[in-house]
């Protein structure tokens, strides 16, 4: 039975439960709703929710666990000789899955007279399966065929069992909640407790997400460090992946590129953003403010891919033609300075709107005191407002830095793919017109295209991701802590 039907049936049962539960409650009060503890619809909701929640919860759990259970069962019964030397258990299992899918598609009989399984039969089977659109990469072996048959049988049984159990759970919930319904039942309290549970579950998704982030990266990073020494990763000086093995995978060259580009971006964004914030909050007339503030905020709403393309087709070639080539700094249009400049533009609204908030939070009395002593407006800003707001501004800069470090599309399109090379001397390392790559670029390049999750060249992306996550998390926590402490100071 398709899943969608099962869901529809449970829904129908819930609707029926709503109507019947409500009816029973009203009947038990003799048709006079004033005699009920709760409003009539709460009795209906109570039955409907008791029908749906356990049944759907069970369904979700079953759908999650069944494939894993079947996989391990079938994998365990797969004989050792079914796995050829060039293959792995995972690859054979994926064959098994496809054959099972194919058997399902050609609607092969489950039991009955078992045909003689020989090479001719299997070749014929492969053709049959292929004709319904399930292409197989290799011939079916007897081991795979048997495993596929049991795979299919188990999934068939599992599906049926799931339908029956879920339906019975729904029915059980229905009868129990219907039985307890009478005029004195505290239906509202029960329903509200149920809703509160749902709300708590929704709020804990945030924690689950963080857990998922950390665990998924930790797990794969552990696999990486099992295949590649951690000293080489953290303290090596060369990034040279080689898919034939023996690659040098060190984070330092990538970290250098990341930090260099981020510093340039901050050199652009912090002065411009800060001065723009000061001008808009202290000097600009309300008309200028109402025109320019949204314009600057538009910069924040533009997707990063747009900045990336801007770097690739406009800024990069321009910098190359007008600066790098005449000055003899290089001929690459993707460079540290291209990515840094464009990223700086992207960060301007970020810095300016955060600083704006912070400058506005400085109490007016401090400004008034300064004016009373005869200071000009700019003296007040430089010597009173900015020092008072400094911790907050530092927080904003740190947040911007964490953005810059984690930014991907601008560097993918603007910075190039060559890792910094420490052995070529300082001149090449600090040349801003040199193409240089970052942690995020390498995460993308190692994880797109054909990936093999057992090779360190792919797994290194998870270690890079974990390092990136740790760095940005550290910056964020520090920045939020500073900003919060600063805000409390003036509240």
């Amino acid at each position: 039975m398709p899943l969608i039907w099962l869901i529809a049936i449970i829904f129908a049962l819930a609707v029926l439960g709503f109507v019947m539960g409500r009816g029973r409650a009203v009947a038990s009060a003799g048709g006079d709703t004033r005699g009920l503890h709760s409003l009539p619809s709460y009795y209906g909701w109570n039955v409907a929710l008791t029908v749906m929640t356990p049944a759907f919860g069970l369904l979700a759990l079953w759908l999650l666990i069944q494939p894993m259970w079947i996989e391990s069962r079938v994998s365990a019964q797969l004989p050792e000789n079914a796995i050829s030397e060039t293959s792995t258990r995972e690859l054979v299992m994926s064959d098994v899955r496809r054959v099972a899918e194919g058997l399902e598609a050609i609607n092969a009989p489950f039991g009955g007279a078992h045909p003689v399984v020989n090479d001719a039969y299997l070749a014929d089977l492969r053709e049959q399966i292929g004709s319904v659109g399930v292409a197989l990469g290799s011939d079916i072996t007897v081991g795979v065929y048997d495993a596929a048959r049991s795979f299919r049988t188990l999934s068939g049984w599992g599906g049926t069992a799931m339908s029956v159990v879920a339906f019975l759970t729904a029915l059980g919930g229905f009868s129990v909640s219907y039985m307890v319904t009478n005029k004195d039942f505290r239906a509202r309290n029960t329903v509200e407790r149920g809703i509160l549970l749902v709300l708590v579950a929704a709020a804990s998704i945030a924690i689950l997400t963080t857990l998922g982030l950390v665990l998924s990266m930790l797990f794969e990073a552990r696999n990486f460090f099992a295949a590649h020494p951690w000293q080489d990763f953290f303290f090596g000086t060369k990034w040279a992946p080689d898919f034939r093995g023996n690659s040098e995978l060190a984070i330092l060259p990538l970290l250098w590129g990341t930090l260099y580009i981020s510093v340039i971006a901050l050199l652009v964004a912090v002065p411009v953003g800060l001065f723009a914030a000061i001008f808009l909050s202290e000097y600009a007339s309300s008309r200028v403010r109402s025109l320019t503030k949204p314009a600057i905020e538009v910069l924040a709403g533009i997707p990063t891919i747009v900045y990336g393309l801007f770097a690739l087709i406009t800024v990069g070639p321009m910098l190359r033609d007008y600066f790098a080539l005449p000055l003899g700094f290089g001929q690459s249009s993707s460079s540290v300075i291209t990515a840094g400049l464009v990223m700086g533009i992207m960060l301007i609204p970020f810095v300016s709107s955060l600083s704006d908030d912070i400058i506005n939070a400085v109490p007016q009395s401090m400004r008034d005191g300064s004016y009373a002593l005869g200071a000009t407006q700019s003296e007040t800003i430089r010597q009173v407002v900015v020092p008072a707001a400094l911790p907050g501004i530092v927080g904003a800069v740190l947040l911007a830095a964490s953005r810059a470090i984690g930014e991907t599309m601008i560097v993918v399109l603007g910075a190039g793919a060559a890792a910094a090379q420490f052995d070529r001397g300082l001149g090449e390392l600090v040349n801003p017109f040199q193409a240089m790559t970052t942690i995020t670029v390498k995460i993308v390049s190692q994880l797109t295209g054909d990936t093999d999750f057992s090779s360190p060249e792919t797994l290194v992306a998870f270690a890079l991701g974990l390092s990136l996550f740790t760095i940005t998390l550290g910056l964020n926590v520090l920045a939020l802590w500073i900003v919060r402490r600063y805000r409390e100071q003036y509240e």
Binding site: R188, E192, L196, L199, V200, A201, A202, A203, I205, A206, I207, T209, T210, G212, S216, M217, E220, V272, G273, A276, F279, Y283, A284, A295, I296, V298, L299, I302, P303, T304, I305, V306, G308, F310, L312, I313, T314, I345, T376, S378, E379, I381, S402, G406, T408, M409, V412, L413, I443, V444, L447, T448, A461, G465, L468, F469, T472, N476, V477, L480
Partner: protein
């Protein structure tokens, strides 16, 4: 009587006039003016950067909305297309697009002869027409088998180089060095244009057609990408909005002040600042490798973007719940509503406009997000439209920002124009969403 108004001793009181500033004041005022100018410069840098960015994208991309077409009368020769004469579709389908190319070549040669165009050294006049034309012709013939033997007028796409010639991307000089086009062929294009066979019109296919392969940029469109993005937005809307609102209601209205709530709050503000690519790693490791969902499917993209959008929606929803004055809650509680009824019957409806605005802003962020989608395999070359929901959520699809990235990685410069054009489409969608958000806010927001 002591002398109260005695002159100070020494008499070095500063001499000066109110009308003429002394040097120190002048300096201070100059510093003041300079400081203001710094501010103005900063603001103008930001605004100019925006203007420069937009003009660069628009001027590069506007061309992709129009396309050069060549109209030709094609003779659908029976002896080439249907050798058996049976008009049987399966039989005719055996003729591949290679079988149709000669018909197009004959059609353009006829046209050249009919117009009396003579160009010295002209070879391969059919290079003017896109390689997509044969497929277009074949689809027409297979759909209308009874037209075989007739002469039918077709509007074919001109090849990418010819199109580029009329958009200024290709010149006579560059054509001389180009393997794919020659100056003579450009002259032929000019002659055909004078004869009225070649025209440039608005190109709907750019918005509705699927992607095309590396060597036919003129046929590449955004259809699959727009549909994929739409599917993902549906997934995000249906997951992120209920979960986000439920989480915010709990945190804002019910949560006790304890350690667990603090952990959740810190968590949410941190999640909002986690680099988007890290969410891509999560999607790859958990949704694809662990849960076994298909690669490049909108459902996976939607789930990843949901997790990314949740913090935005939660933060906006909490702010708008907070802005509902406590008097509303107290009034509801006072007439006997339960806490839950107060929230769902009174507070939530009043907060709805703010929640909606926050949701739209979250969605528009999700729409432009690229990096996590690269990791879950959405860069794949997809030519098939995904099916109708709900199965379509599991079909391979592309997404607008990923399609843009995909086009930037191709070598033909015509794809750069395509990518810029796709950005214009993306920005138009974002603009519409943001305008809707602003209108909603203006219309329904209440000041208490």
């Amino acid at each position: 009587m002591t002398d109260i108004i005695a002159e100070p001793e020494g008499g070095d009181r500063r001499k000066g006039s109110l009308l003429a500033q002394d040097t120190r004041t002048q300096k201070r005022n100059a510093a003041e003016r300079r400081f203001q100018i710094y501010g103005m410069v900063a603001v103008s840098i930001a605004v100019l950067a925006l203007v420069f960015l937009l003009t660069s994208i628009v001027s590069n991309g506007i061309g992709s909305f129009s396309q050069t077409f060549i109209s030709l009368d094609v003779v659908l020769a029976e002896d080439k297309l249907d050798k058996t004469g049976s008009r049987d579709r399966t039989e005719m389908a055996k003729v591949s697009t290679f079988g149709y190319a000669p018909l197009i070549k004959a059609a353009i040669e006829d046209r050249i002869a009919a117009e009396g165009i003579e160009i010295d050294g002209l070879t391969k006049p059919d290079a003017l027409i896109s390689k997509e034309a044969a497929a277009q012709l074949r689809n027409f013939v297979l759909a209308n088998t009874d037209r075989v033997g007739d002469t039918v007028e077709f509007k074919f796409l001109a090849s990418g180089r010819i199109d580029g010639y009329y958009k200024g991307r290709v010149t006579m000089a560059s054509a001389a060095l180009d393997r794919n086009i020659s100056p003579e062929q450009l002259m032929l294009a000019d002659a055909l244009k004078d004869a009225g066979a070649l025209e440039r019109t608005f190109n709907w296919d750019f918005i509705t057609a699927p992607d095309a392969s590396e060597n036919r940029p003129e046929a590449a469109g955004l259809g699959v990408a727009i549909l994929g993005s739409l599917y993902m937005m549906v997934v995000v809307l249906f997951l992120a909005l209920p979960i986000g609102v439920a989480a915010s209601i709990y945190l804002e209205e019910f949560a006790p002040k304890n350690f667990l709530t603090d952990v959740i709050e810190v968590n949410i503000s941190n999640l909002a600042a986690v680099p988007s690519i890290v969410f891509g790693i999560l999607g790859l490791a958990i949704f694809i490798n662990f849960a076994g969902l298909p690669q490049s499917a909108p459902i996976v993209g939607g789930l990843v973007l949901t997790l990314m959008t949740l913090p935005t929606i939660i933060i906006a929803t909490r702010a708008s719940l907070k802005s509902v004055p406590p008097s509303i809650r107290e009034a509801a509680l006072g007439v006997g509503a339960s806490k839950m009824q107060t929230v769902f019957h009174h507070v939530l409806p009043l907060a709805a406009p703010g929640i909606l605005t926050g949701t739209i802003i979250g969605l528009s962020q999700a729409l432009g997000e690229t990096a996590p989608l690269l990791l879950i395999g959405m860069v794949a070359f997809v030519r098939e439209y995904p099916g109708a929901p709900p199965e379509g959520f599991f079909d391979p699809a592309s997404a607008l920002p990923v399609q843009i990235y995909n086009w930037t990685t191709r070598s033909d410069p015509a794809f750069v124009e395509r990518a810029s054009g796709a950005i214009i489409v993306l920005l138009i969608f974002l603009l519409i969403m943001n305008i809707v958000a602003i209108i909603l806010r203006r219309r329904f927001e209440r000041r208490w």
